[in-house]
Symmetry: C2
């Protein structure tokens, strides 16, 4: 007797407007399921070269050591930390959300002497605060989050990077949510180690972590006295496979790399500036509509991420119930708050393919109707009208 | 001006008969490109449950902690090692190929006091040799490779596992190449930590590492005094996401998990015993045909892996040239030797979907023709005839 089989994969239709994954282009799905070839096949090596070339364009860098780590975004965080940090090294981590906390944890496990500076969730760091902390602890590496996925706050980097380098330190940056949605200018801002994920504004399924390292960061890695604690993430070996010698490291996730390759083609086909403008425009339309629904952003104006709209849940509204209703009745996924803001905020993503005017309208409609069912009295028509108006005037 | 775009993904047609990846079923490709949903979507949580259930069947275990690590097979190795080992713990690693060497490296990086016992590439360990080594170094963990992908040698485990447990140690086993192609009886053999890959006999694209941990292994993890060095691979957190609380860890590779789910359905639909027999039958047909071509196995009879046929390259034949010819003229990928047997052996995979009689015949035909072009005088027709005969008589 054969064992009774589980049902085949048949996912429900969703509109992905949470903190990632975002919706995926049919072209990316097609690439994902293109025939697998070997990880040393001449064709695949060309795909890797092309991916590196395109990742450099998206990261706005000439860094040679630019590739996709074979794991999700958090493996990119770990790869950046463990390759730069040796046991006993000092690292300053700026914590204003869950991903800053995570970075401090990763660095501690890597044996760093970690100093954290902390801000309330949703706030950002001023250059002065960074300068003071860097002066106090004289770190080898300063870790900071560009776009805090847990709070929706945007951390400007340019001035901070200058401060960090003037102190002789390296800057390590989390661009998981920002890459492909707002400018990430690795060379112009002089960032040393940057990681991202595929499932946010690049609109590729989760599973790879684009990373890039400056020549200074590579030099620090080359001068290590100890082996990197993680064999899997050791860039001294991984880069041999991506770079000249093609020495086998592990069997790369071929099909995921096909998908990212195609996702990057889509980004460059649209053009970075056009893509950033699209993200901003849909953010502004959503914001106008949400305001009409009586919903306020949890991050101050000017520090809001266009691709991740973190808003306060209105008084008397049950977080889980509304999100369940959006999912079950409208097929729309939005995210809840993480950490201390759990149950207090929603996170509405407009990332990559999901950043579409029609999604803005559908979300406003659905959320407005859910709020009215829950006893609020909001004007859904008005919300839609202002969102349309922002699009027309934008 | 838009940057000029690179060409779209369009892989050449290959028959994957190397050491993995293997060929993929259209059903797995379809699952791979099914619509992405969120990593906390109720639908996806059901997929995870189903996958755990099926992985347990394939691993032949009741182990609760059975899941797919979000990385390639080597990340599974690292996950097993870093979760069981704390700095200063003694680990015995049995090295008779590249993957034993790798395990020793991973364990050293994890802070283990590593003792290795070594055999020539292609040889296996006797229970007596393990008993002696375990008695000498009294390790917390013994690491060993079930199916050495670099050499094609099969290491019996049952007796060794008993010896290891009698000494109060845990056994950690690499089943990357064996799982789904020959029996891996985790419970019956009492294995404590086992990892595999998806791209071998499971015939799913590379990118995930199935792992399973015995209750004893889980207890050791629960009693750790230090945090696991890798945040990304820390099972104390990963299992919360796969298990009861569903606490967010990182954004899972949704689509890769869809693909593995479908690949596991295919394994169970065929039935484990049928699948093992298929692998054995095609191995025997290939072996008979290769013998007719004058090609000898590099591993003694009785210790050969059916899914990975490691053979000596005939005298006077150029490794790279023949493999290039097979790939370019016949679309067939086979593997070269790794480590000390580089240039001396070929590795011919008959894994999962690739384990087909038609592939055996195509490979014999292609290889025979290449050898004749290179000046040998082999009888291709005879090789095909004996392969057919083995199938008919099997």
């Amino acid at each position: 007797m054969k064992p009774s089989l589980l049902p085949a994969i048949s996912p429900p239709r969703r509109i992905l407007m949470g903190p990632g994954p975002s919706d995926i282009s049919p072209r990316v799905y097609a690439a994902l399921s293109a025939p697998t070839v070997g990880h040393l096949d001449p064709y695949y090596l060309k795909v890797m070269d092309g991916m590196q070339e395109m990742l450099r364009q998206v990261f706005q860098t000439k860094n040679e050591l630019t590739l996709a780590v074979s794991g999700t975004g958090s493996s990119g965080m770990e790869a950046c930390v463990v390759n730069l940090i040796e046991p006993g090294d000092r690292m300053l981590v700026c914590v204003n959300g869950v991903f800053g906390m995570r970075m401090a944890d990763v660095a501690t496990r890597a044996g760093a002497e970690v100093t954290t500076i902390e801000k309330e969730f949703g706030e950002i760091f001023s250059p002065e605060e960074i300068a003071e902390a860097v002066e106090k602890c004289n770190p080898k590496v300063v870790g900071i989050v560009h776009a805090e996925t847990s709070t929706g706050a945007l951390q400007p980097l340019e001035e901070i990077s200058k401060i960090v380098h003037d102190a002789g330190s390296l800057i390590l940056v989390d661009c998981v949510t920002s890459l492909g949605g707002i400018p990430v200018k690795v060379d112009e801002w002089n960032l040393d180690a940057v990681y991202s994920g595929t499932q946010k504004c690049l609109s590729c399924p989760p599973g790879l972590a684009p990373v890039t390292f400056s020549p200074q960061a590579v030099q620090v890695m080359d001068e290590r006295k100890s082996k990197v604690a993680s064999w899997y993430l050791d860039m001294s070996m991984v880069r041999q496979y991506w770079g000249g010698s093609r020495a086998y490291h592990d069997t790369a996730p071929i099909n995921m790399n096909y998908a990212l390759y195609e996702a990057l083609r889509l980004v460059l086909e649209e053009g970075l500036e056009n893509r950033f403008q699209r993200h901003m425009k849909n953010h502004l339309a959503l914001k106008a509509g949400l305001k009409e629904l009586g919903i306020e952003y949890s991050v101050p104006e000017g520090q809001q991420l266009p691709m991740l709209n973190s808003v306060f849940i209105p008084d008397g509204i049950d977080d889980a119930q509304i999100r369940k209703q959006l999912l079950n009745d409208y097929g729309i996924e939005i995210g809840g708050g993480l950490g201390p803001v759990k149950g207090k905020t929603w996170r509405i993503g407009l990332m990559g393919v999901s950043s579409e005017h029609s999604n803005v309208i559908q979300l406003l409609t659905a959320l407005g109707q859910c709020l009215n069912q829950a006893g609020k009295n909001v004007d859904v028509k008005a919300a839609i009208a202002v969102a349309h108006a922002v699009r027309s005037n934008g």
